[in-house]
């Protein structure tokens, strides 16, 4: 019996329209109807079935999944005549496929857009004095009275611990940096003066054009490839889809 009671909010908003538009841009003059799209690793954490359905509806020629059982799952949703589905473990990968750039995961960002926006919930907001240590090992101390926000995502959700004290976030319109060590289920942000309240959004990455940090900023801060970061996002994070 699935548990439906609500707990901490952890959400990744995925725009399937952005993925389709990126694929169309990358396919160029050859057109989507000849494109094979890489949807391995649950479409790099974006969700195999919703992404595969949107791409099939847009008329792509085929896609590549990780494993044979992913192929069965996807074909069950899109129908076996809709597109060709290659399983990388059975068939290998076609030489000419559209890769992680389809999800906006490669530089330059000028022509493809990131398709995922990752948002944590502010589960605690408090005012503390200067000189307070923050999180395990006290790798950070507040410099003056400030607002600390506790975000309900941690490395068990795939937020890389190596991003501690490095990666950017936005809270109530204001930029901050992950403060102190990222823990298994939570991290802190020293946000200074802020209007945020409990239940508010902590945006880890999203749309750079909206002044949000991007997954590429997180890649730069951590030294990890952006597709590694999004593939590692865990099952407690709800994927919320929009076709816009």
């Amino acid at each position: 019996m699935p548990i439906t009671a609500r707990g901490v909010r952890r959400r990744a908003f995925v725009s399937t329209a952005t993925i389709v538009a990126n694929a169309a841009f990358l396919a160029g003059a050859r057109g989507l109807e000849s494109a094979i799209v890489d949807v391995r690793a649950d479409a790099y954490g974006h969700g195999l079935v919703p992404v595969g359905r949107a791409l099939a509806a847009a008329g792509i020629a085929g896609c590549v999944v990780s494993h044979a059982d992913d192929r069965e799952r996807l074909v069950g949703h899109v129908g076996h005549r809709a597109i060709r589905v290659f399983a990388a473990d059975d068939d290998g990968t076609p030489v000419d496929m559209l890769g992680p750039a389809t999800y906006g995961l490669s530089t330059p960002q000028s022509s493809v857009k990131p398709a995922m926006r990752l948002v944590a919930e502010a589960v605690a907001v408090k005012t503390v004095a200067g000189g307070r240590g923050v999180s395990y090992g006290y790798t950070y101390h507040t410099s003056a009275q400030t607002t600390l926000v506790l975000a309900g995502l941690g490395y068990a959700d795939g937020i890389p611990r190596i991003a501690s004290n490095r990666a950017p976030v936005v809270i109530a319109g204001k930029r901050g940096t992950v403060t102190g060590r990222i823990a298994m289920d939570q991290f802190v942000v020293d946000i200074g003066e802020s209007t945020v309240t409990v239940g508010g959004d902590v945006v880890l990455f999203g749309d750079g054009q909206l002044d949000e940090p991007t997954v590429l900023d997180w890649a730069e801060a951590t030294g990890l490839r952006p597709e590694v970061i999004v593939s590692g996002l865990g099952p407690r994070i709800e994927r919320v889809y929009s076709a816009s």
Binding site: A5, G133, S135
Partner: protein, 356 residues
Amino acid sequence: MTGFDNSPVRAVIDLAALESNVRSLAATAAPAGVMLAVKANAYGHGLVPIAQAGVKAGARSLAVLEIPAGLELRAAGVTAPLFAWLHGADTDFRAGIDADIELGISAPWQLEAITRASASRPARVHLKLDSGLSRNGATPEDWPDLIRAALAAQETGSVHIRAAWSHLADASVEDDEAALALFQSAVTTAERLGARFEVKHLAASSAGIRMPQARFDFVRFGIAAYGISPFDDRSGADLGLRPVMSLHADVVAILTDGRRVARIAAGYADGVHTAGIGRTSVLLNGVRSPVVAVSVDSTLVDIGDRAIQLGDTAVIFGPGDAGEPTAEEWAAWADTVGDEVVTHVAPRVPRIYTSE
């Protein structure tokens, strides 16, 4: 055994090791009891099997982090006391209280939400002090207000004050001792305000092992129970603990690309860390084989001129008995902690449970 045994990548979970660790930690902590932390899908090991094995080995209660995880255990028939302490603005407190999940409480808004939830019984609450970690919990400045709000809610019957608790920063022994003193002083403050605590708890794995005065009524053991040391300078083996999870991946191709490499069936989307390449290695047929590249579904390892067959099994990490890396070794390579190595093993990797 399950039908996943022939998956080319699998996490083998040694429940006998988990039980042995819990028994050993219980002996260390006694007369304090053990609350076993099973948050984050039991640190990636699988919530229900670990909870059941932990209770069997003597854990008196289970730390689940949040109400939905506790409900999952109740649905699986687990009757042990459960403790949840991370709540959001939308958290369904009523479902948690009705399922007799004890609640960690850090701020008055949570008491207000509990009162509004009108559950079938008073919520049993553990009031949390922020003793220096600066995460959840009331700061010493805000603590008296939290106590007064809890006493008022107890007066109306919506809560029953069960415990006072906090969590240590593991920064240094001196810092942890300062936090312990702060905790004891906060308990005194609360008692002067009229609060009575049935139990108190403070220590997790590290203080539970090295700081007897922090054990109080029970220790919340997490990472140590999974056989991984909470310390930088001592291994799990040094502490008499045995790693519970091993990650295995079969050889699915042998390639020659300047050098001979084997492709093994676990990549970064299975949880293999990409940080630390150049240092990282796996054990393949008894020999450490350096990682050359990690891709989405697979990893290439250097096999030199050794005879390797398709289907041979690489041990990415394990207890270390046969010379394979441990999760602790991967943590050092990837500049992290063993906790992240095991929790990062992806849901798509089948967990195979053994108990010999």
